[in-house]
Symmetry: C2
Subunit: 222 residues, 2 copies
C-alpha cells in the first residue's frame, strides 16, 4: 500500500505519525451495493478510495433519498467518520456503487492525528469544506433548476462516470438520486424519448442527443 500516494500530507507528517498510520491502515474490498456507513448508527473511520465508487446520500423520514455526491478514485470519504466532529449534526448513508477497493483509517488513530498534527487538522478542514461545497452546489440545483434540467444533467453525469451512453438504471434509481418520485421521473423520461433525447429500454436508457441534453442541463429556472 502506497500510503504516501494517497495522503497528500504524508511528506509533512512527523515520523511517529507516519509509523502510527502504517500500523493501522488496512486495505478493504467491498462488493458493489454494500452499505459502508449508516448515519449516526456507526463511525467506521475514513476511507481513501483506491478504485471504485461510493455514493453519499441522505434519506428523509419518509424514505425519500437524495444523492449528495459520489466519491471516485483518490477521493477521501470523511463523513463515515463523522463522530470526529461534534458539530456534524446530520446523518448520511454511504454505499458502494461499484466493486470498491479502499484504504481504511480507524477513527481513533485519525482523531489522534488531528489532535496532534496541525497539518492533518488543516487537511481535514479542507475535506469538510469540499463536502460542504458539494452540498451547496446540490442545493443550488434543487432551488434554481427545473427537474427536466436536473434529470438531463444527471444522465450526462452518469454517462460520463461510466464512460458509456447506455445506462442500466431504473426510473426509481434516478428518482432516488434526485430526491424526486418515480412517477415524476417516468413521465419526464417519456417526454425525453418523444423529443428524441433518449431511447428507453427495459431497465435501461440510451442517450441519443447529447447536445440536446447539454442544452437542457444548462437551462435556468426563468
Amino acid at each position: 500500500m502506497e500510503l504516501s500516494a494517497y495522503l497528500p500530507f504524508w511528506s509533512k507528517l512527523e515520523p511517529r505519525h507516519r509509523e502510527l498510520l502504517q500500523q493501522v491502515v488496512t486495505e478493504c474490498h467491498f462488493e458493489k451495493g454494500r452499505l459502508i456507513h449508516n448515519g449516526s448508527a456507526d463511525c467506521v473511520g475514513l476511507y481513501f478510495v483506491v478504485r471504485g465508487r461510493l455514493r453519499v446520500f441522505v434519506m428523509s423520514e419518509e424514505g425519500k433519498e437524495l444523492t449528495l455526491y459520489r466519491l471516485l478514485d483518490r477521493d477521501i470519504c470523511l463523513l463515515s467518520a463523522s463522530c470526529l466532529m461534534r458539530s456534524i449534526q446530520f446523518d448520511v448513508i454511504i454505499t458502494t456503487e461499484e466493486d470498491t477497493v479502499a484504504l481504511h483509517i480507524p477513527v481513533e488513530a485519525y482523531r489522534r492525528l488531528m489532535e496532534e498534527s496541525v497539518v492533518v487538522a488543516n487537511y481535514t478542514n479542507e475535506l469538510i469544506a469540499a463536502n460542504f461545497s458539494e452540498v451547496m452546489w446540490r442545493m443550488d440545483q434543487i432551488m434554481n433548476k427545473k427537474l427536466d434540467s436536473r434529470v438531463a444533467a444527471f444522465l450526462l453525469e452518469e454517462a460520463d462516470l461510466r464512460g458509456s451512453n447506455g445506462l442500466d438504471m431504473t426510473h426509481e434509481q434516478i428518482a432516488n438520486h434526485l430526491g424526486s418520485a418515480r412517477e415524476v421521473v417516468t413521465r419526464m423520461m417519456k417526454y425525453f424519448q418523444t423529443e428524441g433525447l433518449v431511447k428507453l429500454g427495459r431497465g435501461s436508457i440510451e442517450l441519443l442527443d447529447l447536445d440536446g441534453l447539454n442544452r437542457l442541463a444548462a437551462e435556468s429556472m426563468r
Copy 2:
C-alpha cells in the same frame, strides 16, 4: 474587549498567539441592514458577534434569495473569511439584521493561527462542520416539508428571535428567507389568516394561534 470570553480556545493558546490576537482584534459597529460580506468579492475576516444579528444567505443567478442561517450573540461568522479554505467553492452574502457589535479578526492573522496552532485548526473544523450542519437541516426542510410548514416554522422562529408575536415583515422578505416567490407567500399568508393563525396588517404580521402554527410546522410531506 474580553477576548477570552469570546474565544473558547483562548486558554489553550500559546502566549505569542494571544499577543497576536490582542494586537489585531478590533471592535466593529454596524448599523442594521449593512452588507458585511459579498461572496468571492471580498474576504474580510472573522466576526465574533457581541450583540446583534447577522443573516447568511445565498442568491441565485436570477436574484432569488435563500437564508442559510442567522448568527446571534456569541456566534462566530466564519464564511466572511471563506478564502481561508481553498475548498470553499460557493458564495454567500452576509448582512446585519439588527444594529450589531462584533469583534473582528483579520484573515491574515487567523490564517497564521490556523497554520501554527492545532487548537485553532480543530476549532475551525468544528465551525465549518456547524455551518455545514445548518445547511443540511435547511436542505432537509426544502426537500421534505411543504411550504406551509416552512412558513409556519419561519414565523415562529422570527417571533422567538424578536421576543414578540408582532412581526414587522413584508411578504417579500419572508419569500427571500425561504427561497420562494412573494406571490406564493402572499397566498399562503391569506390562507393562514382565514384559518385564524395570523392577523395581517400593513407590512406587519401578528401571530394569533401559536399552537396551530406549531402543529403545522411539525407536519411532514406525507
